[in-house]
């Protein structure tokens, strides 16, 4: 078994190698490499495949009880300071590697179908591979600095992939927004990291944790400061995992191609925040203030995400808010100390949400045949409906995902969400109530999405709705033509606009796209069974460092399970029934309800007005401040120094008449000044 651990560093290196080789090829021999589309894809798939095999082998070995493995080299040093980098293989990292590699592998297969018409097919694979490498590097990091490094790198990959279709203005804005918002979080993470290093002298998680606890206990550091430092670190996950109030980038990030929405913005990168909280658990767990902040941030985010998701019409935006909401659950779980439950939900969510996103991509792919490559039309649920007929595989898998996220047993989401709710009830019933209510809203909006997309009549050919949507979309974007270069092939429009999207009905996507859907459906149904409360293998395997697994001993309480599980299933069913009444049977008219609660509706539709608020406060504010500073620089600073120079020149000019030449004059000044210095120093020194 040892060689496997010795060479475990290859897991992140394989995809890096793939990305580097293909990337260099793209730079050096652009046209030739671009022509070998599927060859490159197969190459990159095989590198991630290699990582996948190794990751599974490592997980197996860890399940067999192999002890944790750590290897590091000295990376930077100055004087007495030493910083090492390396990799660690323990239960958590082995699990995360398997999640990342499986989802990445399936998403890469899917990409072949989804991006088949895109000119930049090879570039997309390169970025995907680079991302996988960074993400794998993140999960094996043994210390906080290394996590920070890869944290930034996955952020960069996310930036590149959101801005993948760089000729589309919304994509350009979204990628910048994502990067900058994440930098705000990283600002906190960096400060927290520095502060923790200052007081503990280490970047290792458990050493930081134990030393910080000692410092607080001995009174050398006030608990307030310790809490502040930890909250600063938590800002990192707040941005990366799209928690309130830094969640604003994630919905916009949907401007990127759908495969990356599934991989980065649902399954892996956004979960990195939860992963970091898990790694930082030794530091956080003894600071009740931080744990409370984490828990309430998560609960608020879960609720907010769900309430916004209700009114979204863009299928991807709806799923994005649902992701925010589900991430809120995970963070809340971490905050109440439900370490295992939070990571369990991370795993189940990674599979079913990746599947939902890929499903939405498949829907968009099908819709584009009918409405053309216009995201405004192709992603809008008001134009969908009845797709189950045309896309049986997509609709079935989407239904499975919907059931899973709604927490219907025995699908995966039920077990993990129930675990979180049960543990938060123990910690604080108020948190449980928020989570429970959110579960109901989740069921409602997910089935609203499912029904509007797959049931009823197909509305894609309805010209009036189309025109309405286009008109609505044109209002905010004044200079961009609504028929901007489309989702699938930006250059298709240049030759033959509208030639081939006159098909009147959508078709099921090719096998490369449906296969990953079917493959992901399996864990979406079954993976929850490893964490059932009566036989919780998952939590035995993944538990907080230092925590003794007591779940196994303290027996299983059927009554408690039935009450907790029953109540969450109950509210889920209420949500589903409501969705059926409103969107399947149309017994209740949604429009009527909207009229009744116009303010609330608008509040949700406008995403709680966060974007507007941030735009006024930060975007416009910083621009104004920058312009003022520039004015000051130009008029006052430059002006003053120029004026001084001018004045000196003038005085030099006037003095010239008293002297027989400038050179002597300067020499005299120099001499006088030197003399002055010497005299002054002689007197004082």
């Amino acid at each position: 078994m040892e060689p496997l651990y010795e060479y475990a560093w290859l897991i992140p290196v394989f995809p890096l190698l793939g990305a580097t080789l293909v990337g260099l090829g793209l730079i050096a021999f652009n046209q030739q490499v671009n022509r070998l589309r599927q060859l490159n894809a197969v190459f990159i798939l095989s590198t991630i495949g290699g990582s996948l095999v190794m990751a599974i082998a490592l997980l197996w070995s860890q399940l067999q009880g192999h002890e944790a493995f750590l290897r590091s080299i000295e990376w930077a040093s100055a004087g007495d300071f030493h910083l090492s980098m390396g990799y660690t293989i323990d239960h958590l990292s082995a699990l995360m590697m398997v999640i990342v590699t499986t989802v990445a592998f399936l998403v890469m297969i899917y990409t072949d179908g989804y991006m088949s018409h895109d000119e930049s097919y090879v570039r997309f694979y390169t970025y995907l591979s680079l991302f996988s490498s960074s993400m794998l590097g993140l999960v094996v990091s043994p210390n906080l600095v290394q996590i920070y490094i890869f944290w930034e790198l996955v952020g960069m990959c996310s930036y590149l992939l959101i801005g993948f279709w760089y000729d589309r203005r919304p994509a350009a804005d979204a990628c910048q927004k994502a990067f900058v918002t994440n930098r705000v979080g990283d600002f906190g993470l960096l400060l927290g990291m520095l502060a923790l290093y200052w007081c503990t002298g280490s970047f290792e998680f458990d050493i930081m944790g134990s030393r910080l606890t000692d410092l607080v206990e001995s009174g050398a550091l006030s608990a307030g400061f310790a809490t502040l430092f930890a909250v600063l670190v938590f800002l990192g996950p707040v941005a990366k995992s799209a928690q309130f109030p830094l969640h604003v980038w994630l919905p916009d990030a949907m401007e990127g191609p759908t495969p990356i929405s599934a991989l980065i913005h649902a399954a892996t990168m956004v979960a990195a925040g939860v992963f970091l909280i898990a790694r930082m658990f030794p530091v956080f767990e003894d600071l009740p203030g931080v744990m409370n902040i984490i828990a309430w941030t998560g609960a608020l985010t879960a609720f907010m995400g769900a309430t916004i998701a209700i009114t979204q019409n863009d299928i991807k935006k709806g799923l994005a808010y649902s992701t925010i909401s589900q991430l809120g659950y995970m963070v809340m779980a971490m905050g109440v100390g439900a370490y295992g439950a939070g990571l369990f939900h991370l795993m189940t969510h990674a599979y079913f949400k990746a599947m939902l996103f890929l499903g939405s991509g498949s829907v968009i792919h099908g819709m584009e045949e009918v409405v053309g490559h216009t995201p405004v039309l192709a992603q809008d649920m008001r134009l969908m409906g009845g797709l189950r007929k045309y896309m049986p595989i997509t609709s079935t898998t989407f239904l499975i995902g919907t059931l899973a996220i709604c927490g219907i047993p025995p699908f995966a989401g039920f077990w993990s969400k129930d675990e979180i709710l049960a543990q938060s009830f123990e910690a604080n019933p108020a948190l449980w109530f928020v989570g429970w209510l959110t579960a109901g809203i989740t069921a409602f909006y997910m089935f609203r999405m499912y029904f509007s997309t797959f049931e009823g009549e197909f509305r894609g050919t309805d010209a009036t709705i189309r025109e309405q949507l286009l008109a609505a979309a044109e209002v905010p974007t004044t200079e961009v033509p609504a028929f901007g270069p489309g989702a699938m092939d930006p250059h298709e429009l240049e030759h033959g606009h509208g030639d081939h999207h006159h098909s009147s009905e959508p078709h099921e996507s090719p096998l490369t796209m449906t296969f990953p859907l079917m493959a992901l459906a399996v864990p979406s149904v079954l993976i929850g069974l490893v964490g059932t409360p009566f036989n919780n293998i998952f939590e035995e395997f993944v538990h907080a460092p230092g925590e003794v697994v007591e779940a196994a001993e303290h027996g299983f309480d059927w009554a408690e399970f039935l009450i907790m599980g029953g109540s969450s299933v109950g509210i889920g069913l209420i949500g589903i029934s409501l969705a059926i009444l409103m969107y399947l049977q149309r017994k209740i008219d949604p429009g009527m309800i909207v009229e009744k609660i116009k303010t609330l509706y608008n509040f949700s539709l406008n995403k709680w007005y966060f974007d507007d608020l941030y735009d006024t406060a930060f975007v416009q504010g910083s621009r104004r401040l920058a312009r003022q500073v520039m004015e000051v620089d130009f008029r006052i600073v430059d002006g003053a120094v120029n004026f001084t120079g001018f004045a000196t020149l003038l005085s030099g000019e006037s003095l010239k008449y008293f002297e027989n030449g400038r050179a002597q004059f300067y020499a005299l000044i120099v001499f006088g000044a030197v003399l002055g210095f010497v005299v002054v120093s002689g007197l004082t020194g």
Binding site: A76, Y159, Y166, F187, P485, G645, V670, T684
Partner: protein, 531 residues
């Protein structure tokens, strides 16, 4: 006596430059190959000399040469390098050679252009290598002339204004160097210009402060430090790409180098007093310049302000009184030399195609120039301190060095670190919005209608690849660079720390603590011994 490696590398380019006028040339083709060869040969000599002669573990000067020049003045031609100057000398060789390659399209008076480039080559190495104060002043001044000419002949529309401003600012600053160094030379019993001897003279506290202030003004102009920075955006706004590379890559580093060598190295007592000022100015540089850069609509000025912002970190590192901080300051200089040169080169390359520097007149050019787009993206990411590249390591070490520094109170450190970290947020804002405005979005029809936007040629890709190699190398494994100068910065820092009163007091304290602890540890054992 050993072979005079440093003198050779200083004089070779200058001598080669003197031969330029007699080289037969048509259309500048021979001249550029000639200059490039000279640059490469000189760079190769540098590498060979350092590889065979330089010992990383020694903190002091190496490859020392000293010849008496003017005996009466005790003026000596003395050169040598230590860990502080050696990386910068290498950087000079590297960047200047690449700048020669970047100057390929220059058609106006090529002979004069390459003549000046080669003169600068030798002059810049000399600035980092000379160990004699008067000589330092001379080469520092001589260095200005080629830059002035390069700006005023090959610059943009307002080149004369920019060149004059440049010469006035820097020459005005140099006056203070002369004043301070003459004072130092004539102080005390002996007249000497040797830097080591000058550093050993026992100046009074007040005089030290005056001297420090004098040097500081001169180097503040060069680095540049707020409020003496305004020449830089003008000079950058008008310069051509190769001159940009030299300005950003090397000339700014001369200020930082001299600040460490003279202000910190020779006047440590004054440094202890001035250090908080340096830190504050460093923050002002970081935040102020970043905001100005964000508001700039002119591409070259934007990057120029980003240079100023990045130089702020150097100041904080110098004033941190920790090994880490000092090491980070040197690292940041080298790193910014590489990143700044690459960014400015790309700005030049973009300008060659769009013929405008105003961001409003660009937009969507990424579609026709994907290679320039990707290179620009990579270099911008390097500049905003993305991990895996050198800028990140430099900024991280400076942050770590300053926040663990024991020379400052906690409140001050918190204040400084938070404000400096604001720069970490601002940098991506202005760099990424710059990228967005140039490359992203739909094509700007007005621009594409009258400009042929051709993608990067292999020469340009090659230059960026050369610059990226060390940027990535240092970013992935920083020890490769820090090892070179660690011994020097360590000895320098310990000397600096010895002149901070609070630190000395702390050390005494901890010594006595250790003593009592030691006796306490021994004490319980005593009974067992007697028993």
């Amino acid at each position: 006596m050993a072979f005079p490696w440093l003198t050779t590398t200083i004089l070779l380019p200058v001598a080669a430059a003197l031969l330029l006028p007699i080289i037969p040339d048509k259309g500048g083709k021979t001249v550029r190959w000639y200059s490039l060869t000279v640059g490469l040969v000189n760079f190769a000599i540098l590498i060979y000399a350092f590889y065979t002669q330089y010992d990383f573990s020694q903190p002091g000067l190496q490859l020392v040469e000293s010849y008496t020049w003017i005996d009466q003045l005790d003026l000596k031609w003395s050169v040598g390098v230590d860990g502080l100057s050696m990386p910068l000398v290498l950087l000079t060789g590297f960047i200047t050679t690449l700048a020669t390659l970047a100057a390929w399209p220059v058609t106006l008076k090529p002979k004069l252009f390459y003549f000046l480039l080669l003169c600068m080559y030798g002059g810049q190495i000399a600035v980092f290598a000379v160990q004699d104060m008067l000589l330092f002043f001379l080469v520092w001044e001589l260095e200005l002339i080629p830059v002035y000419l390069l700006l005023s002949i090959w610059g943009g529309k307002r080149r004369l204004y920019a060149a004059t401003k440049f010469i006035l600012y820097t020459a005005g600053g140099s006056l203070f160097i002369l004043l301070a160094s003459l004072t130092m030379a004539f102080y005390g019993d002996t007249v000497t210009f040797d830097m080591a001897a000058l550093a050993a003279k026992p100046y009074g506290q007040t005089l030290q402060l005056f001297l420090y202030a004098g040097f500081f003004i001169a180097y503040a102009v060069k680095l540049p430090i707020f409020p003496l920075h305004t020449w830089l955006p003008d000079a950058h706004g008008e310069a051509t790409a190769p001159v940009h590379m030299l300005l950003a890559g090397i000339l700014l580093k001369m200020g930082g180098y001299a600040l460490i060598r003279m202000n910190a190295g020779m006047l440590p007592d004054a440094h202890a007093v001035f250090a908080p000022v340096l830190v504050i100015l460093g923050i002002v540089n970081i935040v102020y310049a970043a905001l100005t850069s964000f508001a700039q609509r002119n591409l070259k000025r934007k990057i120029a302000y980003s240079s100023i912002s990045h130089m702020g970190f150097v100041l904080i590192g110098i004033a941190s009184f920790t090994d880490l901080g000092m090491s980070g300051a040197v690292l940041q200089m080298v790193s910014h030399g590489l990143i700044g040169a690459s960014l400015f080169f790309l700005v030049g390359a973009t300008y060659d195609r769009t013929h405008t520097l105003m961001l409003d007149e660009m937009g969507g050019v990424g579609q026709r120039m994907p290679r320039i787009f990707s290179m620009f993206t990579v270099c911008s990411l390097a500049s905003l301190a993305l991990p895996g590249m050198s800028g990140f390591v430099a900024e991280l070490t400076i942050f770590l060095g300053f926040s663990t520094s024991d020379a400052y109170s906690l409140d001050f450190k918190v204040f400084v670190v938070i404000l400096a970290a604001v720069g970490v947020i601002l940098t991506p804002i202005y760099l990424l919005s710059m990228l967005r405005e140039i490359f992203y979005g739909p094509e700007n029809q007005e621009l594409t209608s009258h400009e042929k936007l051709v993608d990067a040629e292999p020469r340009e890709v090659f230059i960026i690849a050369c610059l990226m190699l060390p940027i990535l190398g240092i970013g992935l494994y920083p020890k490769s660079l820090t090892e070179i100068y660690d011994a020097t910065t360590h000895s320098l820092t310990s000397r600096l720390r010895a002149s901070v009163p609070t630190l000395v007091a702390q050390k005494e304290q901890s010594k006595s603590d250790a003593l009592t602890a030691a006796t306490a540890a021994i004490a319980p054992k005593l009974p067992t011994l007697t028993r």
